[in-house]
Each structure stands twice: as structure tokens, then as C-alpha cells.
Amino acid sequence: MPQASRRKLLVLGNGMAAGRMLEELLARAPDRHAVVVFGAEPRVNYDRIMLSPVLAGEKHFEDIVVHDDVWYARHKIDLRKGETAIAIDRRARTVRTAGGTVETYDDLVIATGSRPILLPVPGVDLPGVVTFRDLDDVEAMLGAAARGGNAVVIGGGLLGLEAAAALALRGMRTTVVHLMPTLMERQLDPSAAYLLQKAIEKRGIEVLTGANTSAVLGDGTVEAVRLEDGRTLPADLVVMAVGIRPHGAIAAAAGLEVKRGIVVDDHMRTVDPDIYAVGECVEHRGVCYGLVAPLYDMARVLAATLAGETVPGYAGSALSSKLKVTGVDLFSAGDFSERDEQDEIVLRDPSRGVYKRVVLRDNRIVGAVLYGDTADGAWYFDLLKKGVDISDQRDTLIFGQAWQAGGVLDPRAAVAALSDDAEICGCNGVCKGAIAGAITARGLTSVEEVRAETKASASCGQCTSKVETLLALALGDAYAAAARKPMCKCVDLTHEEVRGLIVSRELKSQPAVWQELGWKTSCGCPTCRPALNYYLLCAWPGEYRDDAQSRFVNERVHANIQKDGTFSVVPRMWGGLTTSAELRAIADVADKFKIPTIKVTGGQRIDLLGVRKEDLPAVWADLNAAGMVSGQAYAKGLRTVKTCVGSEWCRFGTQDSTGLGVKLERFLCGSWTPAKVKLAVSGCPRNCAEATVKDIGIVCVESGYDIHIAGAAGLHVRGTDLLGHVGTEDEAIEHVAAVMQLYREQAVYLDRVWKWVEKTGLEKIRAAIMDNHEGRKALVARFRKSQRAVHRDPWAERAAGRELHEFMPLAVLTPARRMAAE
């Protein structure tokens, strides 16, 4: 075709989408267009996603060039490097550049890509603050890295982490600041994010999650980054990698439809039939893309359309991503949002640091997250894109493609089929023969005995089920596995084992527990989540971040839900004492908020029933103003200390039981416990405070204080056991606090004190509290530490606005407003 009769194709932008589109077009219709390309960067087209290896020094720029000058010349493409298009005149069908050039077009393709987002904080314009988008950015970072010092990377997504890893490799002290609680939260679930964070930290990179940048500081050049919580991080280089925004300004100015990106139809056409858009600058069916695969899909459709072919339109892309950090194997694809356990298959290998999760819907893969072993990523992604029914291979799917030839696996038969030298316990290197031999030779009958004798399953516990299978194979029906009660269906370990491992392995987050202890689900269940939340809080006070969504509503909103969805509010009355001023304030609150029912509780408190959820913060604010705090009548923690009037008034009273009750309540309230804890102090053996049916009860006698534990008066009724006798009030407080802490550290979640005592044995507890004086003092010290983390009034915090979303409707639609909106 002669040059003159060709259509004139003008391409704005010379990134990956434009490059791929031209390649596809040349393959389909090499002579159809005369092509002019305006590229803002002063260089040829290169593979932008490989900038990370360039920054890391693993590749050179020449290695990542896609089309060199020779290619443009060979295909007679007129590439104008360093020329930025600034305006489109749709009527004249021309484009003007910053340099003043005006070029005509028959077909126009906008491929202007995206721009990095800069956080709107003071100091972002200081020299030394860079983004991570093009080769100029890489060169700026390399310049800074050559001078050494501190780098702060803002953003813990793909780009931010790749930049951080590269800068650390180049010798900078690097910190990643990430707003969300887990890294790469858009691509990874919490378990994979936990492993990733561990791997990143192993490279000497500090990772701060849940950290909000408030300012970049510096005098003339960047010196530090300040976080919202007041921390200041020294910085010689700040890399801003918080996301990208489609760059469609030129299209908007020309009157084309632009929402988040330039709006295109399935054939990449804008509202103007002669103007197309492709790549990161577009918005297709409401979605903007920032990964390379969709750009290629779009480029193919656009090239075919420009070539005059009739092709099916672009229908959106399934996404997969891989982190390009050497030594970190990570793959994610599709939709891996939290599902019900029957819809996912999870494989964890704690000793190898492997986590694999395949999410299924209707027997088809809809998502996959792989960490540590990503060899099968492409295979899963292919099954996902093709929508293959995997019913037949479900049992072996998670093991990967290599396993698909084999038959169906029965776990028991699989263990039986193992050779004697097959390793069962990876942590302690114990093989099948050693375990089976020990079972027969020494007559072992339980997992605990096998652990004691062979060490198998004594560390991470992941192989417990294999050990149980070996016991069952050796003992047949004589083996009663039922003696061991796993925590829930997510894990084979018992509550006690999980607690022990949280402490000994220093596991400090729920994802850490899930991964290191081999959870069989991706995110736990309603049974294990509240328990783990408690165990972690107890083990790491002040360090573990409480997970509100793992708590029952009462503990989230610090009030008790009632049958009609309203709440009841119980202010604390220390030891059951109140004053006329407090009673007056309670009466005022009841009037003001029209509280329908006021009742005295069994624990000597006043209960305000029927409070609307939205009113809770205001009710608390008024009670706070009168000096009252939360009575924690909802807590798995200290509820009340019931008292009698004791020696102050009673003619039989032997000690100041009311005063002791007040002191105990003030000292003990606040910390979370495995289940609720109720105390009472009676001033004499007549026991008017009913101390002998409480979790912990004190009965005052002439010679001092009898300390009782393990009473119950609910579903289960049980009189207390006498733990011991002490002479002074201070000793009584110390002993009770020590019991509280021992209970906190040992009891299974939801076990009341009596159940813990029956499981543990009174003698053991007596030895720890009454006889071991050093141990008791250490328990009290740990209890004090736990209290430092919680000694704030939850009501005051919420009245001041904390977690306001818990109490306010998302929206209120009244008929009047609704009509106005219509």
C-alpha cells in the first residue's frame, strides 16, 4: 500500500501498552497505518515491570529494552522521544505537543498510562522524595543509594516492597511504612502476608504496619518522615509507592468521558469513534488495571480492531501477580477473599515456610495464594481462567500438577504406605520406624507419650495427626484418640498445646499462629478466633493488637446486648458502694435517655436496661462526668466484687470486708480473663456476701483471711475449695492477684475458674500460690504488667469518639431526605 493512502495512526504514550499494541498491529496489518508515536520519556520502549531488578542491580537497562531504535526504523514508525502531547483538537483531528508541534490523525490511541499518587502531606515536594515509575526514578534512587544512609519506603504493596528490597540490597537502612495492618493486602491474605513480612524483615528491612504518614520533614532536602503516632524516622531518601492513578487529563480536556480513567467500550473505543485508549489510563466496565497482563489483553483487542478485524471485545481480566524480590516466592491470582472452609483447600508446611491456598466455588478455582512454593502458580491460574471443573482432582489439587497422575489418597493408607525411614516429624527429625518401634517396644498409647519418648510432634505439632495415625495403626481399636480434644476443626492441637506454643515460639499475631501451627483454614473460625485473640493478649500484653472483630458484640461495644437489640449499661460501683451523687446522676441519665428499666443486679450493681446503641456514647459521657466508669458487666474479666458491710458497721464483722472488696475491685478490674470472674468478700463466716459460691471468695475471720476458689452458682453449682489462709489484707490482695494471673495464663478459653481448678488439680495451684513465694510475686508482677495495657476506661475512650462507627448507622434515610435525593 503506498504511504499516502495509509491511515494516519497517532499514539500518545510509549509505554508497555502502546508497545504491545503496535507489535500486535504490525503482525496483523503491517501496511495499514502510518504510525507516529509521542513518548514523554526521552528513550525507547522498555519493560517497566523489570525496573525493580534494575534497581536491585540484577539487570541493566539494556536488558529490559523491548523495542530499540532499529525496531522503530525497520517498521517505519516515527517515534518522537521526549515529546509530550498536551492537547487534542477533535474537530480538526490534530494533537499538539508541549514543543508546539501539531500532528494530524485518522485514528488516535491514548496510552498515557498512570501517575504515581503522592500523599497529600507537607514536605512531599522536598528534594529526596521520589516515586517509582520510570527509569529517571530508578536513577534518582541509585544516586541516593550510592550515598548510603536511611531510606523510608511509604507503601507496602508490590512496588514499595520491591523498591525496599533493592535499596536494602544496595546498603541503605530501609524502613517500609504501610498504612494497612498487613502487607500487600490487595493481593495476599493475612497468612501469606505474615510470611512475607517475616521474609522482608529477615533482609534487615524494618516493617511498620498500621502506620500513617503525617509529614515529610526537612530543611531544603528530605531529612525524616513523621508518622501520625508521633514517631519520626530519619530519611535521606523517601520513596512514595502508595498507588497509581490513571492519567487521562488530555482526554478529559478534549471532552471525552473520563471517570477514574478514560472510559472505553469493549473494543477500547472512547465516546469519539476515532479515538481509542489502552492500558493503565483506561477505565473498562468500571475497572482500572495496574498490572501488565490486562494491558496485553487490551492491546490485542485494540490492535485487531485497528486492523479492521471483527473480534470479540475485551471482557476484563483475571489478575495474577508475582513479587519480584529475589528469594521471596509469592504468587496470587483471582479472588481469594475469605470463604467458608468447605470452599477452600489450605496446605501449610511450617518447617519449610510454605503456605498454599486454593479458593473454590462450584468446584472451580476462583483464586489462589501461594507462598514459598509457587511452582504451580501458572497451573492454578490456567485452571482458573479456563474454569475447569476440578471435582476429580480435588483431593490432590493442593499438591500441584505433579500429583495429578496418582489415584485418590487416603491419609491413613498414605501413612501406612510410608517406608520406615520416611520422616514424620520435620522439626525433630523423627522417622516413621522410630515412632512405630517406640510404640510397640515401650507400649505407648497416647500422643503425649510418643512426644515424651521420641520428640515426634513435640515442637510445632503439625505432624500430630500422622503420629495419631501411627498409634491407630499399631494399636487398632485399642487406641482412643478421643481423649485429646483439638481446639476446633481448624487445627489438631489442643487449647493447652496452642497456648504453650504461642509462648515458647513467641508467636505474636493470629496469622503467625495459623501459619506456624499449621491451621487447616486460611483465617480461623468463630471458635478459635476469640480464643486466639485472648491467648495472644494474655501472652503479649501491650504488644499484641487486640482484634475487635474476633470479639462478641458485648466486648466490642462495652455493653450487654438484650433480646430486642438494645443494650444494658452497668456502671462500676466499687465493692457495691455508691453515693447519693452517683444515684442522682444515674437517675438523670435514665430520664434524659428515656431508659425504661432500672434494676439491681445479683452482683450489687445498678443495671440500666433498654439503651439504644446510638445513645451509648452519650450515656457513658454523662456517667463519666459523674465519676463513674464501665462496670464491665459484659467482660471476660473481673465483673464484680460483692461485699457485706463488715467490721465498719456489722456487729459480727471481723475485718473491713467492704474496704477489701473495693481495693480488690480497683486492682483486678480491666484485664481480660478466659471467662468471667466474680469475687466476693464476706466479713465473717456467716458469709452474707455468699463468697463460697464465687470464682474467688474471701471469708474474713478473726485471725485474718480465708481464700477460697472455684465456686460456681450458675448452670453448675459448686461450693468453693479452701486455698489457704493469710494474716493481712495486703497478703490477701497479693494472693488473689496471683490466682487471677495463674488462671489467666493456664485456663482454656471459656473455662471458668472451677473448671480450670478441676482440670489442673487444687494441690498444684496451692503449691504455686501458697508455697512458692517467689513464683507468687512473679505472677503478681505479670498481672500488673497486663493491667498497664488496659487500665483505661473503655467508656471514656468511646465517649471521646473511639470506634464511633460501632455506634452510628452508616446512613439514615428519612422519607423527606429520600424524596429530595430522588
Binding site: S337, R529, N554, I561, L810, V812, R818
Partner: protein, 109 residues
Amino acid sequence: MSDFWFDLGPLAALPVRGARIVRTPRRDIAVFRTAGDDVFALENRCPHKGGPLADGIVHGRKVACPLHNWIINLEDGEATGADKGCARTFPVKLENGRVYLDMGIAAAP
């Protein structure tokens, strides 16, 4: 009346694995957000005894009613396990990071 998509605000206004309510003249609607950022809307009444589902613990695509621990499926409002009953569902969608509720249906009888 349909397709009256009412903008409830950014997704961030909903707690992850949590819910908030939307008050309409006819009913309260609980809008849920799962760990994977899927959104669902159910009438804020458990089919069992009318418990406020928005206050329950969200796990997977289910919510446990805070009153008696009935487990309700967020996708279709059906009670799971041995329990029988259904909470009404409402059309809700997530678009460009914002949550929309179809008020044409949500506010209709």
C-alpha cells in the same frame, strides 16, 4: 422502582469482618463487609428472634447472630445447619471503592 443506587460512602466506613446499619423508613438494613472486601446487605433481623445481625461476628461469608448464635449465610440470608429461616437480602454493590444500596428495593414494602 428499581436501580436507585444510593451511595453509602467509601468501603472504609465499614469495618473489615463487620457491619453497619442503614436506617430506612421501613426497616433497618445491615451492610456487611467480609475479610475479602465483599459486601452484602440483609435485613437487620435474625429469622429466629429478630436479633440485630449487624452486631454479630462475621466469619467467611456468614454472620453469627449475637442473640442465640444462629449462623446466617450472607449470600442468600438463609440460616445454616439445622436451623431453618431466612433473612431478606437486598441488592448492594461495590464500585470504585464505594458502597451502593438499591434504595428502590430497600425502601419498598
